[in-house]
């Protein structure tokens, strides 16, 4: 056979890569696809085994979404989720951004150990904390309200975002800050006017993480919030839509789809930042 051209070689190589990736893509995406198609199928279509289940055998329907909004607390859960995420993000930003700056930049005595200590608290799992925290929540009178979650979610977002911000602040050239100081900025002025604007990607990443990490919680929501209308989506759907042994799979999939997909897509947008964040901000 004649020697292959450069182009043929490249095509061949890419085909091998695609072949290798196909199982991964299939594995990752199939459950999502299954979610989507279930959410739009009519009930008789869902529970019939003779047909090929991968496509619609009856006309698609929006009935499951209607059930969700008219017959369950789903609307409240979405609002709860958003409001919780908002407050958690606010608390996280107000605490983690200054802390990250102080630890990364101000050469405080003991900064290294404090940084490690804060990082280690992120690794104290909720399963160890949720029983004592249930007492704290009860004492503050927050049980059975989503405010309980606003109180406890920062216990994992603050350590994570402090660590993240520390990485970001270390990448801001010290000279910029020095220049600002020489030009007459105070310490706080230099932070607000020079360092923060440059670290905006880091701040945004912190917001995203405050949101997505809150969405990952199940334990605290399950343990602290029992009234049906106070739950966030990830807790409300499995606890309220599954009644005994009766499953409303169409509605359940519709419910998780509406919230899960936007979160996953948002997270995807920030994937590069996420990578930067956990490697301590490798900036080229």
């Amino acid at each position: 056979m004649a020697p292959k051209t450069q182009r043929e070689k490249a095509v061949r190589r890419n085909l091998w890569i695609y072949a290798g990736l196909t199982p991964f893509v299939f594995m990752a995406v199939f459950p999502i696809y299954w979610m989507v198609i279930t959410a739009f199928k009519q009930d008789p279509d869902l529970y019939r085994m003779e047909n090929i289940p991968f496509w619609f055998n009856m006309a698609p329907t929006l009935k499951h979404f209607e059930t969700l909004f008219y017959q369950t607390n789903y609307g409240s859960w979405i609002i709860n989720t958003m409001v919780i995420a908002f407050w958690v993000a606010v608390i996280t930003l107000l605490t983690a951004v200054p802390a990250g700056y102080a630890l990364a930049r101000l050469r405080l005595p003991g900064a290294e150990n404090i940084g490690i200590a804060i990082f280690m608290t992120y690794l104290v799992p909720g399963i160890i904390l949720f029983l004592p925290l249930s007492r704290v929540v009860a004492t503050l009178g927050l049980q059975d309200s989503w405010w309980a979650l606003v109180l406890v979610y920062p216990t994992f977002t603050i350590p994570f975002c402090t660590w993240l911000m520390m990485g970001f602040f270390k990448t801001v050239p010290l000279e910029m800050e020095e220049a600002a100081r020489v030009d007459g900025c105070g310490q706080l002025g230099a932070l607000i006017r020079v360092v923060l604007p440059v670290s905006l990607p880091g701040v945004l990443t912190s917001v995203i993480f405050a949101f997505t990490l809150s969405m990952q919680d199940f334990l605290y929501g399950l343990a602290f919030v029992s009234p049906g209308d106070q739950k966030p989506v990830p807790v409300g759907v499995p606890t309220e839509l599954i009644r005994g042994d009766v499953y409303y799979w169409g509605s359940i999939m519709a419910a998780v789809l509406l919230v899960g997909l936007p979160v996953a897509i948002l997270y995807n947008f920030f994937l590069d930042r996420f990578i930067q964040g956990i490697t301590g901000g490798v900036v080229k």
Binding site: G20, V25, W34, P109, G126, F218, I252, V259, N268, T279
Partner: protein
């Protein structure tokens, strides 16, 4: 004061001040010195985060130690000291040992699979090819979806009657039809329940393993590798002496995170099987939740949750040493 400020390190503005107006600085009281001002400023910035974490992680952790040696329960706010009774009771409980064993199996088996999958995926994604961004975006979806949500989708795929997995297996002739003895009920059969839960954990977290590895690889500057190549280092020498030491800290952090999250995660098992059937998939977090919240025995629940600490400790110490060694 001047000596103090000089000893305090090369703080640029302080240096400038000392050089230009040494007379003024020397008259300042200690709290007006630049170093002291910087420290006050710094600790003020640090205080809110440190206090929050101290009050809502540190204090509750100590409180859980107290709960574990008390007979606290949900109905009765007055708890009395019972020594190690809760630990002894857990120790004597058969379910506890099953849960402990299942937790360890869960952790080890899941770690093996996600290391294999994550590593192969990372090597594939390290290449350059058209559509890389899209494909990377697709394969990380399991990790980016909120856990409770993706577990529900699996619960549906594992349905005892309408499982899509079984539909495919049945059509391929690998299993019988619904109702026959060879029809697997993934979440209902003792020997299948735990593997089914582990599979979901692996599915959820293998993209994380891959991302962490990728981050490690991309953190290695190509110039350094090229320089080593020019100097005559073989592929394995470069791997051993440059790539490995550079990505090791990142890998350790990823490994630790995963260990902690896998060991302490209740949602996968709780949502799929609640630990059943007959404790076949019971793991420590589920047991702690069921005893602490559902049965209301806070003390006993806290004691069981604390049994996770010795499991987590080796991983934590390993990483702590690693971070310490990193340049600060």
């Amino acid at each position: 004061m001047t000596t103090a400020s000089l000893r305090g390190g090369p703080e640029p503005s302080a240096r400038a001040a000392v050089v230009s107006v040494p007379v003024v600085t020397s008259r300042r009281p200690w709290w007006r010195t630049h170093t002291a001002q910087r420290h006050i400023f710094g600790y003020t910035l640090l205080a809110p985060a440190a206090l929050y974490v101290l009050l809502l992680v540190g204090a509750p952790f100590l409180f859980s130690l107290y709960l574990a040696v008390s007979d606290a329960n949900v109905g009765d706010p007055v708890a009395k000291f019972v020594g190690l009774d809760n630990f002894r009771a857990a120790w004597e409980m058969e379910t506890f040992w099953i849960a402990l064993r299942n937790s360890v199996i869960f952790l080890v088996v899941a770690a093996i699979f996600k290391t294999l999958l994550g590593t192969s995926l990372a090597f594939l994604l390290l290449q350059n090819f058209p559509g890389k961004k899209l494909i990377r975006g697709l394969v990380v979806i399991p990790f980016t979806l909120p856990v409770a949500i993706s577990v529900l989708s699996w619960k549906w795929m594992y349905d005892s009657q309408f499982s899509v997995i079984n539909w495919v297996l049945s059509r391929l002739g690998l299993i019988g039809t619904y109702g026959s003895a060879s029809w697997p009920v993934w979440l209902g059969q003792p020997e299948l329940a735990l593997p089914a839960c582990i599979a979901v954990n692996v599915w959820r977290t293998f993209p994380f393993s891959a991302i962490v590895l990728l981050a490690g690889f991309t953190a290695v500057p190509l110039e350094v590798l090229d320089a080593a190549k020019v100097d005559g280092c073989s592929f394995f020498q470069r791997f051993r002496h440059i790539v490995t030491p550079m990505i090791f800290p990142i890998l350790m952090i990823g490994f630790l995170f995963d260990t902690v999250f896998t060991l302490s995660d209740l949602s996968v098992v709780y949502l799929l099987t609640q630990g059943g059937p007959a404790n076949a998939s019971k793991i420590l977090p589920v047991l702690a939740y069921q005893i602490g919240i559902q049965a209301g025995n806070l003390g006993r629940g806290a004691a069981i949750a604390l049994f996770l600490v010795p499991l987590l400790l080796p991983a934590m110490i390993l990483v702590l040493r690693n971070i310490k060694r990193r340049e600060w």
